[in-house]
């Protein structure tokens, strides 16, 4: 069976790899090609006692050598399981990532030392298999078995293990990057994107897998492998869970509200207060607008700004590294000035300076000709001095004739004093070096005063020298073709890559913002969409219908007859709901076109949020009762804007009479979703 799989007639003149992993075994089992768990058991059955472990196989090999040359070697199943062990190599709780024998031992049912003792023979069989393939003249495929320069014995199975467990973990990160969890992506597209993503040795992929990626002739095989891996991915697991990161604190100054407070940046997808957990004496809330956690207590003190602090919550810590000067820029989302790590070259900014450092900073700013305004008497910022710098103030700097004060140097823009790459059409960060779109190579920035005023640009082993006139050298005309480039300038070295595309037809995060609509609120603005809103939003020219039934109404008590009036003349459906039945759908009309429901009675309705997956009411959603007006209310599955407006008016009127506004929000959300 394995002989047909690896060296069958269809493999003639093709490179063949004896690649076996758990996924292949599962596939074979499910497709019925192999009987239930045959390989490992049959190999174990062929083995002898620990001292004569391989003797039974050796005698079969001796018999095979006397037979016809075309027969498949009897050691092939044993070699296949050695590859299976190699495919399982990765860091785990019990075994080191490089421990090969420790992984093969449980498969063969004996100790690692016994296997190591006999592995010389197995390595010899790998060489023998290579020779057998070469003797076949390509009719059974072209061998890819190579001797490892260092790992003389286990190098053979490693050379055949295309995908290791460690590769799978890295591939999951790539699948997330490529948006496989959001849309189906073909193997060909994935393979093209992977070639761009895994740019160098820092990708975390094994050398064997990287060599597969680097071989253009193996692209079809790569496509098959990544497609199978993507299919097997649950769309959620990405690598090994890591310890939650600290939340960097930022200072927020809101002059209009005359307050100064600490906020902490929340990572994407992390809920507000839960991100921090509990800590005695510390109170946090989610800041308006989301994305930030607000530290309610302890309150802001100027000395904390200078000395730094850490608030250790049960889940994450909020940390501020002390500094004697703190730049702040305007953040409209937070309605005030927010601290940043370094001064900005082009934005209007505030600089908060500790009292003892103020005289040095002030005189340096003045001597350098940097325009600023000394702001005094700001409530909430006692103990600190404030300088307001207009946009682009740092660009007009003259030589102050002396060294910059330490407080200022710590927050001075790095790029102003060091050479670096600026601008360019930078692609989404992949696994390795900075990558730009072809035609969008960055500019090289070389600050005035640094010597020499020339840069070396290297690619494909060729180096050319270029003079830097002024402070900037445009690299886009010098680096035009796809490939890797290195720029050496003033003792610094920068590497980047140019690519024609990422390989994906559509960016994974496209379509994340849209207009969901609504009534009586400011929701008719494009905003970040939740997954369930994607089906009912305007995104560019993509106008999607809302899901047929986001929120359902639940009726209780009374008589129960509904008339559903269809689009076609005379189409009338009468629905009798038994007395006491817990619910009947009204707004959940799922028919295409307009379906009207006319009520012939005055029931009491309960609104519950059924928009959760599985359409089950949330346990904590408290139902709120209200009474609809008498018969004649018309509900449509595809309401016109004026009908929605009419309903909103009705809902508002009803809510005004109710002291409980929870159902109002719920109802409005249901209409917004429509």
């Amino acid at each position: 069976m394995l002989g047909e799989l690896f060296f069958g007639p269809d493999k003639a003149e093709q490179t063949v790899v004896v690649f076996v992993d758990d996924r292949l075994l599962d596939d074979l089992r499910q497709s019925g090609v192999a009987p239930e768990s045959p390989l490992i058991e049959s190999v174990r059955a062929q083995l002898g006692s620990p001292k004569k472990l391989l003797d039974p196989v050796l005698s079969r090999v001796a018999a095979w050598r006397k037979g016809p040359d075309g027969a498949v070697p009897p050691y092939l199943p044993l070699l296949a399981v050695t590859v299976l062990a190699a495919s399982q190599m990765a860091e785990s709780d019990k075994l080191d990532g490089h421990n090969y024998y420790g992984r093969l031992a449980p498969i063969l049912g004996c100790s690692p030392s016994v296997i190591e003792e006999h592995f010389d023979v197995i390595a010899g069989w790998w060489k023998d298999l290579d020779a057998w393939l070469q003797r076949s003249g390509g009719s059974r495929g072209i061998s890819t078995i190579v001797e490892h320069p260092r790992l003389k014995k286990i190098g053979y199975p490693l050379s055949q293990a295309l995908v290791r467990e460690s590769d799978r973990r890295t591939l999951r990160q790539f699948f997330k990057h490529a948006g496989v969890d959001r849309r189906p992506v073909s193997g060909t597209e994935l393979a093209a994107a992977l070639v761009n993503w895994a740019t160098d040795g820092r990708s975390g992929l094994s050398a064997r897998f990287r060599s597969l990626i680097a071989a253009p002739g193996e692209r079809a095989l790569l496509a098959r492998i990544v497609e199978a891996e993507a299919r097997a991915w649950d769309g959620v697991t990405v690598g090994t869970p890591t310890k939650p990161q600290d939340l960097p604190a930022r200072l927020l100054f809101q002059p209009r509200r005359e307050r100064v407070l600490w906020v902490a940046e929340l990572p994407d997808g992390v809920a507000g207060e839960q991100a921090f957990g509990n800590c005695r004496g510390v109170k946090v809330t989610e800041a308006s607008g989301g994305g930030f956690l607000r530290v309610e207590s302890p309150r802001f003190r100027a000395q904390d700004l200078v000395s730094g602090f850490m608030l250790a919550g049960s889940r994450r810590s909020v940390r501020w590294t002390g500094r004697r000067a703190t730049p702040m820029v305007i953040d409209p989302n937070l309605d005030g000035w927010v601290s940043v790590s370094r001064l900005s070259m082009d934005e209007k900014q505030l600089l908060l300076v500790a009292e003892p450092d103020w005289s040095g900073v002030e005189s340096y700013l003045r001597d350098s000709g940097i325009p600023f305004q000394h702001v005094t008497g700001v409530p909430g910022l006692q103990g600190l001095q404030l300088a307001q710098l207009p946009a682009g103030a740092l660009g007009d700097r003259a030589d102050a004739g002396r060294e910059m004060p330490d407080a200022l140097a710590a927050v001075w823009p790095e790029s102003v004093v060091r050479p670096g790459l600026r601008g360019g059409l930078l692609m989404k960060p992949g696994s390795g070096q900075r990558t730009y779109l072809v035609g969008g190579a960055p500019d090289l920035y070389l600050p005035a005063g640094l010597q020499p005023r020339s840069a070396d640009l290297s690619t494909d082993g060729e180096t050319t020298a270029h003079a830097v006139e002024g402070e900037t050298l445009s690299l886009s005309s010098l680096a035009a073709a796809p490939g890797s480039y290195t720029v050496s300038v003033a003792g610094a070295e920068f590497r980047f890559r140019l690519v024609e595309s990422s390989g994906l037809l559509h960016a994974p995060d496209a379509g994340g913002i849209g207009w969901t609509g609504g009534c009586g609120s400011a929701s008719w603005q494009p905003a970040r969409l939740q997954a369930e809103a994607l089906a009912g939003a305007v995104r560019g020219a993509a106008v999607a219908e809302p899901p047929p039934s986001l929120v359902r109404t639940v009726r209780t008590g009374g008589c129960s007859t509904l008339f559903l009036i269809g689009d076609n003349p005379g189409e009338l459906q009468r629905i009798q709901v038994p007395n006491g039945a817990p619910h009947g759908d009204l707004f959940g009309c799922t028919r295409a076109g307009t379906v009207q429901a006319a009520l012939s009675f005055v029931p009491t309705w309960i609104v519950r949020d059924w928009s959760e997956p599985g359409s089950r009411p949330r346990a904590r959603a408290t139902p709120v009762e209200f009474t609809l007006p008498p018969a004649g209310i018309v509900v449509t599955a595809d309401p016109r804007p004026d009908e929605i407006a009419q309903w909103c008016d009705e809902i508002k009127r009803l809510s005004a009479a109710s002291t409980d506004n929870r159902w109002q929000k719920l109802a409005l959300r249901s209409w917004a979703a429509r």
Binding site: G423, K428, H506, D509, A510, G517, V538
Partner: protein, 316 residues
């Protein structure tokens, strides 16, 4: 050999945006400036922010990107194939990565549609397609992994918000001196310094370096966006500035000083797939059928410009 799909900075910049998928406005703005400088060394606009916002606005009304200004984020719109109203033509909008452009130029696509790229001033080219068979547009969408929408202009027009829903937020009392306030003059269609403390109409002032717009109704003020605020102010005085003519499949004329709100403008732009033409002091949106024009004018309370009346007089 390297294939280059971009021969102008707007196309190249949008190609890059399509590859990125989404991001924050600050870094997009920096990349925009870099691309402009690279295309024309020494480029220095009078107002950098206005130039970038104009580019974003053009991308948005063409259905190429969406911008969440409050969160300062942008995201490329999903690639969409849709047909133009009252026409057998279609357009391809939304993200266009180099890979997608390559697929569009492939043999499989050329057997379904004839494609034409229309050059636009400081905006990415419009991609128009003429189907070769009846179901070609949906087949094209399937071939390139795009969304197929029957007629985006009509679908958006049917969902346009009215001025009184969602274009303003909570009540707000402007705490700025009168001499820092500008009022919108509905006759001149421009802002002029306030001569006295207003109680009605649209005003603007600057706070934290940002221009704020408020619409007043008998002393009650609400924050609005500029474009919606102008139409609210016009509605207060029953002034009509939109003009629709039946010729050339329908022509909607809008004074340049009064741009349509973003979603309204997108409905108008997607009727032809290209940005409006400039004609003197007006912007002219072509191929706008009467039902789309009617939806735009009624939701902006420009009832005097209803197509059935054959157009109306613009404010002086």
């Amino acid at each position: 050999m390297t294939e280059c799909y971009y021969d102008s900075w707007p196309d190249q910049l949008f190609g890059w945006a399509s590859e990125r998928g989404s991001g924050d406005l600050t870094s997009f703005g920096k990349t925009y400036e870099w691309a402009r400088h690279r295309a024309k060394p020494g480029w220095k606009p009078r107002d950098r922010a206005a130039a970038f916002n104009g580019y974003l606005r053009d991308l948005s009304v063409l259905g190429l990107i969406e911008v969440d200004r409050q969160a300062r984020r942008w995201a490329v719109a999903p690639t969409t194939v849709t047909s133009l109203p009252a026409s057998d033509l279609g357009i391809v909008t939304g993200g266009r990565t180099p890979g997608l452009l390559k697929a569009l130029e492939g043999e499989a696509v050329s057997s379904m549609v004839d494609m034409r790229k229309v050059l636009q001033h400081q905006a990415p080219r419009a991609i128009l397609v003429r189907p070769r068979r009846r179901d070609a547009l949906s087949a094209l969408a399937e071939a390139i992994g795009a969304i197929h929408v029957s007629c985006a202009a009509r679908l958006i027009a049917a969902r346009l918000p009215r001025l009184d829903e969602g274009e303003w937020s909570e009540a707000w009392a402007p705490e700025v001196p009168t001499d820092e306030i500008d009022c919108f003059d509905t006759s001149l269609l421009q802002f002029v310094p306030a001569a006295y403390r207003p109680v009605n109409g649209l005003i603007r002032y600057t706070e934290f370096g940002q221009t704020k717009f408020l619409i007043g109704d008998c002393g009650v003020w609400r924050a609005v966006r500029r474009d919606a605020g102008i139409f609210l102010a016009l509605a207060q005085e029953n002034r009509t500035v939109l003009e629709w003519r039946r010729r050339n499949g329908g022509e909607l004329r809008v004074p340049r000083a009064v741009r349509l709100p973003a979603l309204h403008e997108r409905a108008a732009v997607l009727c032809l797939g290209t940005l409006p033409a400039e004609d003197g002091l007006s912007l002219v949106y072509g191929n706008v059928p009467d039902d789309v024009a009617s939806a735009i004018s009624s939701t902006l309370e420009q009832s005097g410009s209803h197509p059935s009346t054959g157009g109306a007089t613009r404010a002086r």
